[in-house]
C-alpha cells in the first residue's frame, strides 16, 4: 500500500447517490476517512449508513459519485475488488458459515493451497501471526465450528478474517448490537489499538455514547442525506441527537402514578427448551397485576424469546405452570389462549405477526379465526373482517389507509401499528409485547408506547420484553433482568441507573475478560436464526423502515 503521500486520506467518497427503485438511500453524500483514525457514521435506522458503506465495499454500485482509496480513484464491482484494495467490512450479520471451523471461515475465498488441496497448516501460521500482532485470542479455537463459539468471539473471527485478507481499512457495521456492555468496552478498546497499528476504521452505529467514546470524527446521516461531519471534542450528545432526528429528544421517563390491582397473570418455575433441546429458560417466576407493566430486560439470546413463546403457548414448557385469572392454563393450546384474552405482539412481525403477501383484510383475521363475529360455525364473514381491518387502520393511523394493500408493502412502523391495533382490539386482559418497537420509526415508537401505557392505565396486565434499556425504563413499573435463562434481579426503574442495569444484563458476577468460551447458553442461537430471520439477535430485516428493499439480502439495512 502506498504511503508516500501522508496527506491523502484512506478513503474519500464524493457525491455518492444510491437509489433502490424510487427510494433514495444515499443522496449526494461526501465522506472522508483519515488514516489511522476512527470515523463514526451515526444515524437512525434507515438513514443510509450501511448502504453507503456497502457502496464502498463493492456490494452495491452507486448511481452517482466517486470512490477514492489511498488517493486513487476506484471502481468496485464486487467485494473482491474492495478486498484487493485493502478494504474490509465486518458485517452486522456475521458473514460466517456456522458448520465450518473458525479457521475455514477465516480463509474462505483466500485459501492457500498446495497440490490442489487446501493447506490448513500454512493458513494456521498466518492466522497465529495476526492474532499475536493484534492481541486476539481466537487462535486457541481454530478447529472449533463457528456455531459453537459465542457472539463476541464470532465478531473477533470476523475481524481476524478481514485482517487475514490484508485489509487496512475496516468498516464495522453496528458491531455492538449483540454484545454485552463489557464486551462492548473490550471492542472499543480493540478498535483504538487497531488504529495504533495503522488501520483506519469506519464505525457505523446509532448509539451516541459509543460514537463519542471512540471516534475521532463523526458524520451524521439522516434520511439518506449527510447532515454534518464534526470532530469529536467539539460536539455534545445533545447536538448529535438533534442532528440525528432533526429535533430535540427527551430522555426522561413520563411520571405517572402506579395503582396495581389484583394479580392477573403469572408463571411459576417455568422451564423451556430451545430448538435443539437445550434448556434456555431455567426456572422463572413472575406475577403481573392489573394496571401494571412488567419489563423484561436482557441481552438478546438469554432465553427471553423462549420464555415468551412458552407462556403464549407456542412452545411447550418442560416444567412449571402458567396462571391466568386464577386458573392453571399450562396445558392450554395457543388457540384457546388467544380466545381467552391473552394478546401477544410477537417478536418478529415479518414472519409471525403478519402474512406478508396477504392483504390487511386477510391479516385482520390472523388470530381471530375462531372469534365471533368474524367467524361463526367455522364460516368466515369477510364483511365483518373488512370492517375490522378498516377500524384498525383508522384508529392506529396505518399508512397507506387501504385495507387491500399487501402487508409486505407497508413500512416496518406501519406493519407494527397494524399488529398492535389488531392485538389491542382483541379486547384482551393480558398484553404480552415482545420488542414492540424494534426497527420502528421514532413517530411510531411514541405512538406504540402511548398505547401500551393506555392499556396499563385501563387496568390490563402488560408484559414488555425489550433489549432497549430506554424503552424498558420508560414503560415498565418493574424491571426483571434476564440472564442465562433466569431472572437475575427485579428492580425499580425509578431508582436504578442505566449502568447498574447494564451490569445486571451482563450477569454481574461474570468474568471481566470474557474470552472465547464455547457458549452453552447461546448454543441454540444458530437454529433460531432460521425462524427469527436473524442469527445475531440484531434487528430484523426490515429495519430500514422502507418498503421494497428487503430483497437485497438484508444488505441495505443500516
Amino acid at each position: 500500500m502506498s504511503r508516500d503521500s501522508p496527506q491523502e486520506p484512506a478513503v474519500r467518497l464524493e457525491g455518492i447517490t444510491k437509489r433502490f427503485g424510487d427510494v433514495v438511500a444515499n443522496d449526494d453524500i461526501d465522506f472522508t476517512l483519515e488514516r489511522g483514525t476512527v470515523h463514526t457514521l451515526l444515524g437512525e435506522n434507515g438513514s443510509g449508513k450501511t448502504t453507503l458503506m456497502s457502496v464502498l465495499y463493492g456490494l452495491y454500485d452507486q448511481d452517482k459519485g466517486t470512490i477514492h482509496v489511498d488517493g486513487e480513484s476506484r471502481e468496485f464491482d464486487a467485494p473482491r475488488d474492495a478486498i484487493d484494495a485493502g478494504v474490509g467490512m465486518i458485517h452486522q450479520h456475521f458473514q460466517l458459515v456456522e458448520p465450518m471451523t473458525v479457521l475455514q471461515n477465516i480463509i474462505l475465498g483466500h485459501e492457500p493451497t498446495s497440490n490442489g488441496l487446501v493447506d490448513e497448516s500454512s493458513a494456521r501460521e498466518d492466522i497465529e501471526a495476526i492474532c499475536s500482532r493484534y492481541g486476539f485470542d481466537i487462535d486457541q479455537h481454530l478447529d472449533t465450528p463457528v456455531r459453537n463459539i459465542d457472539l463476541g468471539a464470532r465478531q473477533r473471527v470476523e475481524i481476524v478474517k478481514t485482517l487475514y485478507r490484508g485489509a487496512e481499512i475496516l468498516i464495522f457495521d453496528e458491531p455492538t448490537a449483540v454484545l454485552t456492555p463489557q464486551e462492548i468496552d473490550q471492542l472499543l478498546e480493540m478498535m483504538t489499538e487497531l488504529t495504533e497499528t495503522g488501520c483506519s476504521l469506519v464505525f457505523i452505529t446509532h448509539k451516541l455514547d459509543e460514537a463519542l467514546s471512540v471516534a475521532d470524527q463523526i458524520t451524521v446521516l439522516r434520511d439518506g442525506e449527510g447532515v454534518d461531519t464534526v470532530a469529536v471534542p467539539e460536539t455534545t450528545e445533545q447536538e448529535l441527537a438533534r442532528m440525528m432526528v432533526g429535533r430535540e429528544v427527551k430522555f426522561d421517563r413520563a411520571a405517572r402514578e402506579t395503582t396495581p390491582g389484583a394479580p392477573v397473570f403469572g408463571v411459576d418455575g417455568v422451564r423451556v427448551d430451545g430448538d435443539r433441546g437445550r434448556e434456555r429458560v431455567s426456572g422463572v417466576d413472575f406475577t403481573v397485576r392489573a394496571g401494571e407493566i412488567l419489563g423484561i430486560a436482557g441481552v438478546q439470546g438469554n432465553g427471553q424469546s423462549e420464555l415468551i413463546e412458552g407462556i403464549t403457548g407456542l412452545r411447550p414448557l418442560t416444567a412449571g405452570t402458567v396462571r391466568f385469572d386464577g386458573n392453571d392454563i399450562t396445558g392450554m393450546s395457543r388457540r384457546r389462549r388467544i380466545e381467552s384474552g391473552i394478546a401477544y405482539i410477537p417478536e418478529d412481525r415479518q414472519t409471525e405477526g403478519l402474512v406478508q403477501d396477504y392483504s390487511l383484510v386477510h391479516n385482520a383475521l390472523l388470530g381471530n379465526q375462531t372469534i365471533s363475529p368474524y367467524t361463526t360455525h367455522g364460516f368466515v364473514d369477510w364483511g365483518a373482517v373488512r370492517d375490522h381491518a378498516e377500524e384498525i387502520i383508522e384508529e392506529y393511523d396505518v399508512q397507506p389507509p387501504n385495507p387491500d394493500t399487501d402487508a409486505m408493502s407497508l413500512s416496518g412502523g406501519n406493519q407494527q401499528k397494524f399488529i398492535v391495533g389488531r392485538e389491542i382490539e382483541h379486547d384482551p386482559d393480558v398484553m404480552i409485547a415482545s420488542h414492540p418497537t424494534r426497527g420502528v420509526d421514532i413517530g411510531s415508537i411514541e405512538f406504540i408506547h402511548n398505547r401500551l401505557i393506555e392499556l396499563r392505565n385501563e387496568g390490563l396486565a402488560v408484559v414488555v420484553v425489550s433489549s432497549k434499556l430506554e424503552e424498558i425504563q420508560q414503560l415498565a413499573d418493574r424491571i426483571a433482568v434476564m440472564y442465562e435463562g433466569a431472572f437475575i434481579d427485579v428492580v425499580d426503574p425509578d431508582t436504578i441507573t442505566e449502568e447498574e442495569l447494564g451490569l445486571l444484563m451482563a450477569g454481574r458476577g461474570r468474568d471481566e475478560d470474557s474470552d472465547v468460551n464455547p457458549r452453552p447458553p447461546d448454543a441454540d442461537e444458530s437454529d433460531r436464526a432460521t425462524t427469527t430471520g436473524d442469527e445475531t439477535g440484531a434487528p430484523l430485516r426490515d429495519e430500514d423502515d422502507r418498503p421494497g428493499t428487503d430483497s437485497h439480502n438484508g444488505g441495505v439495512q443500516t
Binding site: 407456542l314 401477544y344 414472519t351 405477526g353 403477501d357 396477504y358 379465526q369 368466515v380
Partner: protein
C-alpha cells in the same frame, strides 16, 4: 414465493402452455413428421367428434378431481406428489367394497345407488388414510413428503398390482383383472353415448371443485390451511397446530384423490387392473394444479385443457405414427415453464410487452 396478480398468473399459464405446444411441434418436425398433420390430429382427437368430446370430458373429469386434490395440498404448502398412489388405492377400495357389499343388497337401481355410495365412501376413506400416512411421517418424523409420497406411489402400484394378479384376480380372468362390478353399478349415460363417460361424473368433479373452493375461501379451517402454506410461522402464531394441519391437509387431499379413484373405477373401468397401466392422472394432476395456480376453480379450465391433450394423445397413438408419449413430454414442459415465471417477466420486459410492475 413471488407475488403475482391474477392476470400475470393467467398470462404465465397461457404462455407456458403455448410454448410447450410449440416445442412439441418442433420435436414433431425434427423427428420427421408433419407438424400440420399433427396439429390437425390434436384438434380432431380432442374435439373433432362426439366420441372425441366425450373422451375429452372423461379425462377432464379425472383431471379436475386429481388436480383439486393436488391444489389443496400445494395451497397448504405440503407437496403431495402421492395423488397417483391415493388414486389407485381409492379406486381399488371401491372395487373391493362394491364386490363385498353387492351380495348383501338387492339388485337393481336402489342397490346400485347404495353400492355407488358405499364404493365412493370406501375410496374416500382409503385415499384419505393412504395420504395421512406420509402426512404423519412428515409432521412427527420429519420425513420429506415429496420422497415418501413418491415411494408410496410405487408401493401402491406394486401392491395393488400383486393383488389383482393373485389374491383378487377375478375367476376365469386371463388378464390380471379383478371381477367386474355388477352391471347395475354405474353412472347413467345422459348426453353422450359413451361407455366410459357420464355427465354425472363431470358434475361430481365440478361440485367437488366448488366445495373445496368454498372450504379454502370461506371457512376458518381453509384460512388456517392456506395461511400455513403461505407462512407457517404466522399460522402458528395465530393458533394453528402446524403438525395437525399437515396431517389434515394430506388427509383432505387424499380423500379427493380417492373420489377420483372411485370415479375412474365406476365410470370408466368397471373393474380393477394392473395399476402400472392405467395412466398417470395423479402425476399429470400436478401440472393441472400448477397451471391453475393451485386454485380449485382454476383446475376446471386447466383440467379441460389437459383432458383435451390426453384425449388427443390417445387418438394420435391410434391414428398416426407419432408416438403418443410426446403428449407426456409436452405436459412436462408445461410444468417446467410454469416453474420459472421470472423467465417470462424478463422476456416481457425485454420485448417491452408490459411487465412494468415490479
Amino acid at each position: 414465493m413471488l407475488k403475482m396478480s391474477f392476470i400475470e398468473r393467467l398470462a404465465v399459464s397461457t404462455v407456458a402452455t403455448v410454448l410447450a405446444l410449440l416445442v412439441g411441434l418442433v420435436v414433431v418436425a425434427v423427428t420427421g413428421y408433419d407438424p400440420v398433420v399433427f396439429s390437425r390430429n390434436l384438434l380432431e382427437g380432442s374435439v373433432g367428434s362426439e366420441a372425441a368430446i366425450a373422451r375429452t370430458l372423461m379425462f377432464t373429469t379425472l383431471f379436475i378431481l386429481t388436480g383439486v386434490s393436488v391444489a389443496i395440498a400445494f395451497r397448504a404448502g405440503v407437496f403431495n406428489i402421492g395423488v397417483q398412489g391415493q388414486f389407485v388405492i381409492g379406486g381399488f377400495a371401491t372395487v373391493l367394497a362394491v364386490l363385498k357389499t353387492a351380495p348383501l343388497l338387492p339388485e337393481g337401481t336402489i342397490g346400485g345407488v347404495v353400492l355407488l355410495i358405499v364404493g365412493t365412501l370406501a375410496a374416500i376413506v382409503a385415499g384419505g388414510v393412504y395420504a395421512a400416512v406420509p402426512g404423519i411421517l412428515k409432521a412427527y418424523g420429519g420425513a420429506n413428503e415429496i420422497v415418501t409420497t413418491i415411494m408410496l406411489n410405487f408401493i401402491a402400484i406394486g401392491a395393488v398390482g400383486w393383488l389383482v394378479e393373485g389374491p383378487f384376480r377375478g375367476e376365469g380372468q386371463s388378464a390380471p383383472n379383478t371381477e367386474r362390478l355388477p352391471e347395475y353399478v354405474g353412472l347413467p349415460q345422459l348426453i353422450y353415448d359413451s361407455p366410459s363417460f357420464s355427465i354425472i361424473g363431470l358434475g361430481i368433479a365440478l361440485a367437488v371443485a366448488a366445495l373445496i373452493a368454498v372450504l379454502l375461501r370461506r371457512t376458518s379451517f381453509g384460512y388456517d390451511m392456506v395461511t400455513s402454506g403461505h407462512q407457517e410461522s404466522a399460522a402458528g402464531y395465530a393458533g394453528v397446530d402446524a403438525k395437525r394441519m399437515i396431517v389434515a391437509t394430506m388427509t383432505v387431499s387424499g380423500m379427493v384423490a380417492g373420489i377420483a379413484g372411485a370415479v375412474f373405477t365406476i365410470m370408466i373401468q368397471g373393474y380393477y387392473s394392473d395399476p402400472a397401466g392405467i395412466g398417470t392422472y395423479g402425476y399429470d394432476a400436478i401440472a393441472v394444479s400448477l397451471l391453475a395456480a393451485n386454485n380449485p376453480l382454476g383446475a376446471i379450465p386447466a383440467g379441460l385443457l389437459f383432458g383435451g391433450l390426453d384425449s388427443a394423445g390417445s387418438y394420435i397413438g391410434i391414428s398416426s405414427d407419432v408416438p403418443a408419449q410426446l403428449i407426456d413430454g409436452i405436459i412436462g414442459l408445461v410444468v417446467l415453464f410454469i416453474s420459472a415465471p421470472e423467465l417470462f417477466r424478463m422476456a416481457a420486459k425485454r420485448t417491452g410487452l408490459g411487465g412494468d410492475e415490479q
